[in-house]
C-alpha cells in the first residue's frame, strides 16, 4: 500500500512507510503549527457498515483538526442497502464531492472493492477479519513511545487471532519495526502454519510466555462475528487466555498491557486491570487520533484537487 494513494491494509507496507507515519503522528501529538488549514475544503466520508464508536470518532476528530469536513454516510438506509451497485454508489459519492472514504465493513476485501470504483482516497477502518491498518499504526506508535526501538522486543497477541483484523495489522506493523511477535490462542483460532503470515510465532499456552513478554495485547472476543460453532465458550477463552491479576504478576515489571477496545470486562481483561499502571489502553485511543491525522494528511494531501467528478 505504500505506493497507493489508499490505505487498505499493511500487507505491502515497509518499515520506512510506517516509521514516517508514526514520526508525523508524534509531531502532531507535540503540536504542529496551522494544522487546521492543512486539509481545508476536503470532505471525508465515513462509511461504517459495521458499528464503531472509537474509530469513527477518532477519524472525525482527526479530519476536523486538519480542517477537513467529516460526514457520516448513513449506511443503514443507504442506496447500497437498497441494491444499488458499488460502482453506482461510488459515482454518487464522487459527485457529492467526497475526497476520502473511511470504510468499515464485515467482509474482508470490501474497501478494496470500493477502491476499484473511487478515484479519491479509500481508508480501511476495518474489513472483516482482514485488516485494520490505522489500528496497526497506532499500536506501533504506542510501542515506539514505550520502548523507542522495537528490536529485541517481544509482542504477544492473545485470544481469537483467527477472527481478528487487529491482530493481523498490529502484528505486521510491530514486526516491520523489528519486534518478535507471538500469537497465542487455542489451535482452532490460530493461523495454520509457522511462521504465521510470514513472520509470527504461535503458542497455545499463555502463562509460559509471560515472563519474557514486553507487550501483551489482549484481543476483543468478537461476539458479533464469531459463532458458537466456531469458538469455544468465551468463559473458556477468558479462563485460559484472559488477563487476570495472577497473569499480570507473571509479566516483567516493564511490560505493558494493550487492548484495541472496546473491552469485554472480565472476559479478556479483569475489570480492575483496565486502569492498571501498566495498561496503555487509553494511550492507544489517544494515539489513534494522531495516527489518523498523519494518514489523512499523507493520503489526501497528495490528492489532486481538480479531479473530474
Amino acid at each position: 500500500m505504500t505506493k497507493s494513494k489508499n490505505l487498505l491494509d499493511l500487507d505491502d507496507a515497509d518499515k520506512t512507510f510506517i516509521e514516517a507515519l508514526i514520526a508525523r503522528a508524534r509531531q502532531y501529538k507535540q503540536g504542529v503549527p496551522n494544522e487546521n488549514i492543512r486539509l481545508r475544503g476536503r470532505v471525508v466520508l465515513g462509511m461504517f457498515f459495521e458499528t464503531s464508536t472509537r474509530t469513527t470518532t477518532s477519524f472525525a476528530v482527526a479530519a476536523q483538526r486538519l480542517g477537513a469536513a467529516y460526514i457520516d454516510f448513513r449506511t443503514d438506509g443507504s442506496s447500497l442497502a437498497k441494491g444499488e451497485s458499488l460502482e453506482d454508489t461510488m459515482r454518487t459519492v464522487r459527485a457529492i464531492g467526497a475526497d476520502a472514504l473511511v470504510v468499515r465493513h464485515s467482509e474482508a476485501g470490501f474497501p478494496h472493492a470500493l477502491a476499484r470504483y473511487f478515484d479519491g482516497v479509500v481508508l480501511n477502518a476495518g474489513d472483516g477479519a482482514h485488516a485494520h491498518p490505522t489500528q496497526g499504526l497506532l499500536d506501533a506508535m504506542t510501542l515506539i513511545e514505550e520502548f523507542g526501538d522495537l528490536k529485541g522486543r517481544r509482542l504477544v497477541i492473545c485470544g481469537d487471532i483467527r477472527h481478528s483484523r487487529v491482530a493481523r495489522s498490529s502484528a505486521r506493523a510491530a514486526w516491520l519495526l523489528g519486534a518478535a511477535v507471538v500469537l497465542c490462542g487455542p489451535p482452532s483460532l490460530l493461523p495454520p502454519v509457522v511462521p504465521a503470515w510470514g513472520f509470527a510465532d504461535l503458542a497455545t499456552e499463555l502463562d509460559p510466555l509471560l515472563p519474557a513478554t514486553d507487550a501483551l495485547m489482549l484481543l476483543r472476543v468478537q461476539k458479533e462475528r464469531a459463532q458458537a460453532d466456531e469458538l469455544p465458550p468465551y468463559e473458556e477463552l477468558a479462563r485460559f487466555y484472559g488477563l487476570t491479576r495472577q497473569r499480570v504478576d507473571l509479566l516483567p515489571p516493564h511490560a505493558i498491557i494493550m487492548h484495541p477496545g472496546p473491552v469485554n470486562r472480565d472476559v479478556e481483561v479483569e475489570g480492575e486491570l483496565m486502569h492498571h499502571a501498566r495498561s496503555r489502553i487509553e494511550r492507544q485511543v489517544e494515539n489513534g487520533v494522531y495516527v489518523r491525522m498523519a494518514v489523512l494528511e499523507r493520503t489526501l494531501g497528495s490528492l489532486s484537487r481538480d479531479r473530474v467528478a
Binding site: 451497485s85 467482509e107 472493492a113 476499484r116 474489513d127 477479519a129 482482514h130 477472527h163 493481523r168
Partner: protein, 450 residues
Amino acid sequence: MTSSNQNRAANRDFVGARVVDPSLKLDAVRTIVVRKGIVAALLEDAPANPDPDAERIDCGGMVLCPGFIDPHVHLREPGDSQKETLLTGLAAAAAGGFTAIAAMPNTRPPLDNPELIKRLHDDAAALGGPRCYPIGAVTMGRDGQRIAALRGMAAAGAVAFSDDGAATGSLKALYNAARSIADLPHPFLSHCDDHSFSGALMHEGIVSDRLGIPGTPPVSEAAIAARDLMVAQATSKAWHLCHVSAAQTIGVLRWAKTQGVRATAEATPHHLQCTDELLLGFNARWRVNPPLRSAEDTAAVRQAVIEGLITIFASDHAPHTEAEKEPPLSHACVGFSGLETAVGATFYALPEVALPTMIANFSTNVATMLGVPGGTLAPGAPADITGLYLQRPWVVDPKRFHSKGRVTPFEGMSFTVKPALMVVGGEIVMRDGEVRGERLAAALPGLAIS
C-alpha cells in the same frame, strides 16, 4: 433440409486420421466409414471404390476419437439467460469439441419434474449440435428434503440425478431417493460440501487465513463424499462424485472402491491446476465451488487421475456475466466458463497421462457412467466423433468464446491440444473452431467466430 439430404449428409468417410478408441483398444490410422449417422466400419485403408453418395473428409494430422461427453454443464436455462442460453451453451460445447453434454438441474426453476426435463431435452434436440442429456434434481426445488419425481424424470429423458450446487441436505431424503429407483441404472451425482460451511468464500488454508476470509476446509467435501458413498453402498446404486477438489476426498474414494461401491469421480481443469493463491488481492473472479484449494490438493487430484482413481473429466461449465463476477467476494457468483477450454486445459495439466486414458476419461468412461450412447466407434455406434490436433498451440481468448460466460482462469494461457473437429450422428458440427452444424450455426448470427 429434406430427409434425403440428411441421409446423404450423414454418409461420410473420415480419412487419414490416427484413430484412438480406448473402448476398442485401438490406436492406428483408420478410415471411419459413416453411413446414415452410424459408424459402419473402421477400415485400414481408404475405401477402394468410394461411395458416390458419401462425402470424403480429409482428417490428416488429426486424432479422431469417440465423441467427448461433458458430464457437468450449467446451461442456465430456464431462468438465467443473461448468463447463457441453450443456444450459446451448446455452441460452446460444440466449439470445445464435445459431442454431448449433461446439463445440471440447478436452473431457475430447477429441473425437478418430468415436464422441465422433457422441454430441455426437446429444445436442445431442435437446435441440433451436441446431444444434451438432462440431469434431474434429487429433491423438489433442490430443497434437500422432499424427494422429486425421479421415475417420471427418468422416463422423460433424465440420465442421472443430482442436487448439484449443494449437497442434498437430508441424509434420509437422499437414502430414500436412491432406494426409490434402485431398480433403474441412473446414477446419482454428488456435489460434496457440508451446509454448515455455506458462509465460506474460499478454501480454508494459508491464503484464507492471511486474508481473513471465511473458508471451507477439505473435510467439508470429504465428509459428504463419505456420507454419500455410504448411501451408495447401502442402496447398491452407482454413484459419482462431482468436481473432486481435496486430497482427503480422494482417500474416501479409494476406501469406497475397496468396499466394492460402484463409485466414480470427476476432475475439472481448474481443480487439476489452479490454487487458492489466485484469490490473493481479493479477486472475486476466481470464486468457484468447490473452491480452488492448495497446491497439495491439486497435486493429489492429478495423482488420482494418473493412478486411475479419478476416471472422468468434467468442465463444470458455470457461465456468468462480467458484472456477476465483480467484487466484493460475497456478491460474486461462483464458477467459470469451461466448455471451450476444458480439452486444452486438461491435457495441459496432465502431460504424463497416456493419450488413450485421456480420451477414455473424456468419452468412454463418461458414457459408461451416465449410461448414454457413445464412448465408442465400434460399428453400429452413433457416429459421434471428436477430432483433436495434438500439437497446435493456441491462446485462450475469452472474447472469442461462443459461451456468454467469459471468465476463465485460463485466459491468456497457451495450450497445445486443440479440438479440431466435432461430429454428431455423422453431421459435422464444428471444424477448426467454427461451429457449422446447420441448425445450430443458423441460429448463431455473428457468434460463429472461427
